[in-house]
């Protein structure tokens, strides 16, 4: 099963859509969430991503993203909520802190904006091959291949880092390192976990760069890509959706 940021094979209309259109759609949903002042529009955009994700057969990715980004959003919600002083006080707290109606609204909207920005990007990467993304960035946006490759390689390395981290944890656990314990103990565990992770990642990136160089990376030209990416009529609904989301986000 591919990881959360990896491409998932499929034959949906979004899988077949032009890579730049998919990138644009994801970007518009993200930006739209920050442009709108309406909580309902944020909710609608979030719902659109969740429903869209399930419709694309990526329920697992949606759940994992909601779980991962949701925890962060919840943390930010709890941390920020008592410090918003505007609005009607709903619950007074010690040290002059309070929970207000506007505080609830702002913090909830912030959480939804973060979730709304995460999900479309995860789904876009789920329906777009990184090589297609690289090729279109090069061929259609004119970004030099080296930079486009670096961008997509950085995305590719995120799941790789998680796998490396898991391997390091397993190796250290097998050596008797106890990962459960007090906060102080966990702080002490940072060096035995992070140092091998850092070393293995640097080594891996170096070997990866070498592998690319050995396979003609520096010989690549702008027109070297094999696949062609023409815009087609099938991309029209997605482009229309982009325009519609942007208009709604601006006027609300």
């Amino acid at each position: 099963m591919p990881g959360i940021l990896e491409y998932q094979s499929g034959d949906t209309f979004l899988h077949r859509a032009h890579p730049l259109v998919k990138l644009l759609l994801a970007a518009v949903i993200c930006v739209g969430g920050f442009l709108t002042q309406s909580l309902w529009v944020n909710l609608a955009l979030l719902a659109l991503s969740i429903v869209g994700g399930f419709a694309l057969g990526m329920g697992r990715k949606v759940k994992a993203s909601l779980k991962g980004a949701g925890s962060l959003c919840l943390f930010l919600f709890v941390v920020q909520l008592p410090f918003v002083r505007m609005g009607r006080t709903l619950l007074p707290l010690p040290f002059g802190l309070r929970i207000t109606d506007l505080g609830l609204r702002y913090c909830a909207q912030l959480g939804m904006r973060l979730l709304g920005a995460t999900l479309p990007l995860v789904l876009m990467l789920g329906v777009t091959r990184l090589s297609d993304l690289t090729n279109t960035l090069v061929a259609q946006l004119g970004i030099p291949y080296r930079y486009a490759f670096v961008i997509t390689t950085a995305i590719r390395f995120i799941p790789v880092l998680f796998v490396e981290m898991r391997d390091v944890i397993e190796a250290q656990t097998a050596r008797g390192v106890e990962l459960d314990g007090s906060f102080k103990q966990k702080i002490r565990l940072i060096p035995p976990l992070c140092v091998p992770l850092l070393v293995s990642c640097v080594q891996r990136m170096e070997n990866n760069a070498l592998a690319a160089e050995l396979r003609g990376f520096y010989l690549r030209k702008r027109g070297s890509g094999y696949r062609r990416y023409p815009l087609s009529a099938a991309d029209a609904p997605a482009l229309a959706a982009c325009a519609l989301i942007l208009i709604i986000a601006i006027i609300t």
């Binding site: 091959r129 070997n207 070498l210 003609g216």
Partner: protein
């Protein structure tokens, strides 16, 4: 015939290292040879592979002495990119070889970089996938593959380019015995049909015996035995002293010879081993 690989007194020591990883290596390989390289850990096998592909001294830096030429290119004055047009490599650390996320993209990567004509690309990709029996993996994400499948993908990516020189550094380490044989069969086919020069660094000595025409045994950065497989196998005690395990039939042949029961050359195949046993029993 003009050698395709010529190493003249090549020595190399890595930056900060006290010893030499390669120490006065002299080597001449003619086009179309199938050469096996074996030796204990730290013998300099990987450094030799790096020297052939230009990784040493361009990427893995250090002090390089002597002269190395591959397909007429001086590996010191030519860039890795220039050399990569001729030399295909598959290294030990398979996980680090992949530069894309999908099997098909991995094979396309080098073909695109080398600007292979568009109409040739589909057939090259198909052939590479079919040759290694991995056509069904074409649209799979590399992260979902087993170690053996990943090795096959890395090999397919190298084979798709049809390089004149192919260097494999323990590239069958994670393959099961049947798949290892399949890879060696494929290499032989590549050598026969396209005249490719194959250099295989391998610990599975039986495979080298069965497929390689020439064996290099390395120790402490030097090539200590260089000759036909049979000639190398005639020195089982020396091989053992170097940390290289001889095939059991070869050890048996040596023992039978000691006892005067066998007088022929060490067997390198099952048929020859059978003939040896018959002679000993006669």
């Amino acid at each position: 015939m003009e050698p395709i690989i010529l190493l003249e007194d090549v020595s190399f020591s890595y930056e900060g290292a006290s010893g030499r990883a390669l120490d006065g290596v002299r080597l001449s390989i003619t086009p179309g040879e199938f050469v096996g390289v074996i030796g204990p850990a730290g013998a300099g096998k990987t450094t030799l592979a790096h020297a052939l592909s230009g990784v040493t001294p361009h990427v893995r830096r250090g002090d390089f002495y002597g002269a190395a030429r591959v397909a007429g290119l001086d590996t010191v004055s030519s860039s890795v990119a220039e050399l990569s047009k001729t030399v295909g490599c598959v290294f030990q650390d398979i996980e680090s070889q992949f530069v894309t996320t999908m099997v098909e993209d991995e094979i396309l990567f080098a073909l695109e970089n080398f600007s292979v004509p568009r109409d040739e690309i589909p057939s090259r990709v198909d052939r590479a996938l079919n040759d290694l029996d991995i056509a069904d993996l074409r649209l799979r994400s590399i992260s979902t593959l087993s170690g053996g499948q990943k090795q096959k993908v890395a090999l397919a990516a190298a084979l798709a380019l049809a390089p004149s020189v192919l260097v494999l550094d323990e590239a069958t380490g994670e393959l099961d015995p049947a798949s290892s044989v399949q890879v060696f069969e494929l290499l032989t086919q590549l050598q026969r049909e396209r005249g490719a020069t194959i250099i295989v660094i391998e610990q599975k000595i039986m495979l080298l015996c069965a497929y390689a025409e020439r064996l290099l045994v390395m120790d402490q950065g030097r090539v200590v035995i260089d000759g036909s497989v049979r000639r190398a196998l005639e020195q089982p005690d020396r091989l053992l002293a170097l940390g290289v395990n001889c095939p059991r039939v070869t050890t048996l042949a040596a023992r039978l010879r000691e006892k005067g029961l066998y007088h022929g050359a060490p067997p390198v195949s099952l048929d020859e081993a059978e003939a040896m046993v018959r002679e000993a029993l006669a």
